[in-house]
């Protein structure tokens, strides 16, 4: 398995990027959510 580093690397990059994006989005949502009225959150 000399290629293991590359293979694991690509899985880590993929999952890591998705996770970071998700966390960043949720955090930003939380930050701006407090000041926003419930009725403006049309999805609830």
């Amino acid at each position: 398995m000399k290629d293991a580093g590359f293979i694991f690397g690509s899985y880590i990059v993929t999952l890591g990027a998705i996770l970071m994006f998700a966390v960043a989005t949720l955090r930003r949502a939380k930050d701006s959510s407090q000041s926003v009225d419930e009725k403006d959150k049309t999805w609830l």
């Binding site: 899985y11 990059v13 998705i18 994006f21 930003r28 939380k30 959510s33 049309t42 999805w43």
Partner: protein, 249 residues
């Protein structure tokens, strides 16, 4: 119910939670199957395992940019100029840029293993790289100052121009490579002989990434709405403050 959701995530609903849970499940299966269960490829050996993340992310990235183009066109055409179209276009482009970055990175890692090089001037690769830069530019245009409507108009026009540009870039790169013989790049996923499990894993990858895409876009789009609303409320406060300033004088 909404109170409970409020505590966990600001932009979540039952639907996004189901999508999120499904996405995690499918992605876990893809990782396990892709890394452990599926066999080696006859030609490529272990490196074929990168395919299970590379190919789906490329698919989703292209899909995301198609959504951006359609949403931008809808914004321009629709009489009401609903901001929902604009937010969807922006969210989709952001997620698309992320998946395109993943595609380029995993692609070059895979390329290093199969071709022995990180990069080949293959038409598809080159077009993908240009697409990536183009949409990074699109996101930069979205960040230019101005009102929500200005952002929507500017970015919708830029997205439409990108639609004009992509075929031109692709065609020119194809023509460029075809005139330079000897540079026939072997197509990595083309010569993989896939058995049922491999096919199923690849298919699961596409499903899993699509779920991830939907989840991310839903949340991102709602976050954009939150930020826009928060800005608007900030504006209300600013107007009130300025009115007081005005009547004192």
């Amino acid at each position: 119910m909404s109170q409970v959701l409020q505590r966990t995530s600001a932009t979540g609903t039952r639907a996004t939670k189901v999508i999120g849970a499904l996405a995690i499940l499918v992605m876990a299966w893809v990782v396990v199957s892709g890394l452990v269960l599926t066999p080696q490829d006859v030609v490529q050996g272990e490196s074929v395992r990168i395919m299970y993340v590379h190919v789906p992310s490329a698919w989703i990235a292209y899909l995301a940019f198609i959504f951006t183009a359609v949403a931008s066109a809808s914004w321009l055409i629709s009489k009401k100029h609903s901001m929902g179209f604009d937010r969807f276009a922006g969210a989709s482009a952001e997620v698309g840029v992320m998946f395109m970055a993943i595609t380029l990175i995993t692609g070059s890692l895979w390329g290093r293993l199969t071709w022995g090089e990180f990069w080949q001037w293959d038409p598809r690769l080159t077009t993908t790289a240009f697409l990536f830069v183009t949409y990074v530019g699109y996101l930069a245009v979205r960040r230019l100052e101005g009102s929500v409507e200005q952002r929507a108009r500017r970015s919708a026009v830029v997205a439409m121009l990108a639609v004009l540009e992509i075929p031109l870039v692709h065609f020119s790169v194809v023509l460029w490579r075809s005139l330079h013989q000897g540079a026939t790049v072997l197509n990595p996923n083309g010569d993989v002989k896939m058995d049922d499990l491999m096919l199923f894993t690849l298919f699961s990858g596409v499903v899993g990434f699509t779920l991830v895409f939907v989840w991310l876009v839903l949340h991102r789009q709602r976050t954009m709405l939150l930020v826009d609303v928060a800005n608007r409320q900030g504006l209300d406060a600013a107007i009130a403050a300025r009115k007081i300033e005005g009547s004192v004088n």
